[in-house]
């Protein structure tokens, strides 16, 4: 199994979720995060004074999938989250050691 962590532009989330849903992903976790990459931060101006915002708001998407689906799911996220502009984010893929469903005690891929 693989654990996919994607940092994406917040406004792409709906598109990404619909595409993942269509691809059979049955659950995911989203959190609001802040960070920067090559885009760095941005500037805001209040009463003529510039404020440097170092950390840009992003969404962190976490989804666990079977080994054979990992590549497809990563590709879907990449395609649907992309705007082509700097700041589109990144996708990290980890090996997932085990999964356990709390309610039933199921273990492994059937717990996904």
């Amino acid at each position: 199994m693989k654990f996919i962590v994607a940092i994406i532009q917040p406004f792409r989330m709906d598109t990404v979720r619909e595409a993942l849903n269509d691809a059979g992903v049955t659950g995911l976790t989203v959190s609001e995060v802040r960070g920067y990459g090559r885009q760095r931060g941005h500037k805001e101006v209040y009463r003529g004074a510039e404020y440097t915002i170092n950390y840009v708001p992003k969404l962190k998407l976490e989804v666990a999938v079977d080994d054979d689906k990992a590549e497809e799911i990563s590709e879907i996220i990449m395609r649907t989250a992309r705007t082509g502009k700097i700041g589109d984010g990144k996708i990290f893929v980890f090996d997932l050691q085990s999964v356990l469903r709390i309610r039933t005690g199921e273990v492994g891929p059937q717990a996904l």
Partner: protein
Amino acid sequence: MINGADTAWMLTSTVLVLFMTLPGLALFYAGLVRAKNVLSVLMHCIAITALVSVLWYAGAYSLAFSGSGPLVGDLSQAFLIGLERNAVHPGTTIPDTVYIMYQMTFAIITPALIIGAYVERIKFSAVLLFSGLWIFVVYAPVAHWVWGGGWLAVMGVKDFAGGIVVHTTAGISALVVAVALGKRDGFPQHLQPPHAPWIVMVGAAMLWVGWFGFNAGSALTAGGDAGMAMLVTHMAAAVASLTWMGIEWARYGKPSLVGTVTGTIAGLATITPASGYVGPFGALVIGIASAAICYGAVQLVKLRFKIDDALDVFAVHGVGGMTGTLLTAPLMAVELGGVGYGDGVTMTSQFVVQVIGVAVTLVWSGVASVILVKITQSLVGLRVRHDVETQGLDLTTHGEAGYNLAFGGTGQ
């Protein structure tokens, strides 16, 4: 004799002006600071309101409005001794009680304006001590000079609703406190922006509405003077809002909300001294001038002089109040829609009086504030420790947090 209509309007105006501080100014300032200091600013506003109310009763009102000395009143009405239920305030048609209350709301908002200079780093005890002393040493005497029959009133200075008494005193004192306290950690390069611009707008909107009590109420009657004051107040606020918005739009490509409402407040502060003397044309001139001049003043104080008058009290209120006081002289001319000049007074002679009023008030308020800051510093200290500033005043000073939103507010 007491007039019911006038009294009704003055009761209403009193409510409106208190509403400017609670919660108008409180919210205006609260939105501009960082989330970790939002409660401290609200606390400053309510604490100053309560404190000044008591001091007003104890003797500040009497020092401002009793007696006929040129420099300061007397203590004949300290603790409002001898106040009668149905007494008419001399020279008006409203009860003494209403006059005292109405003036109290002005005394409250003036030190509350200064809050904007010292937010996010001052000791709470310093806020109370400085504000309390300031009411007696700065506000009461200057109010007496201008509105209590003191030397500036005798000289014929025109300050309808507080360009000198409120905005000039608060503005220069704010600058003094800001310099004495020093810059906030990170100023000006690494500050975080206002935590809630929408709250700034809500507060400014309340100020705009409340200002009708401030300016139109200063007529002390419900008639043509109040009506014109309301009209010109509104026009100046509208024009100044558009002007500031336009300046930012042209310079930065975006018309910002915080900038637009800052223009609103600049316009309101600037029309204040003129509101009983000018017509709609004067309001138009003041609206444009206030936004342009106050905008420049903000840049000058913050970016050029690097003084951390955090919420621009001097640049918006002080500079606005002074500008309006000076512009009153030319704009009150009958030809420009104003009320005209008194016997033997010309535009030039009126202007000279206005300059004297502003200049002396600047010096008095500035020097007095320097001394009061020293006293405050030696008695309770001025600034919080660095780690307290980093953590924010809400938790460290007041033991409360402005926002408990984590985990959906379910505890943790």
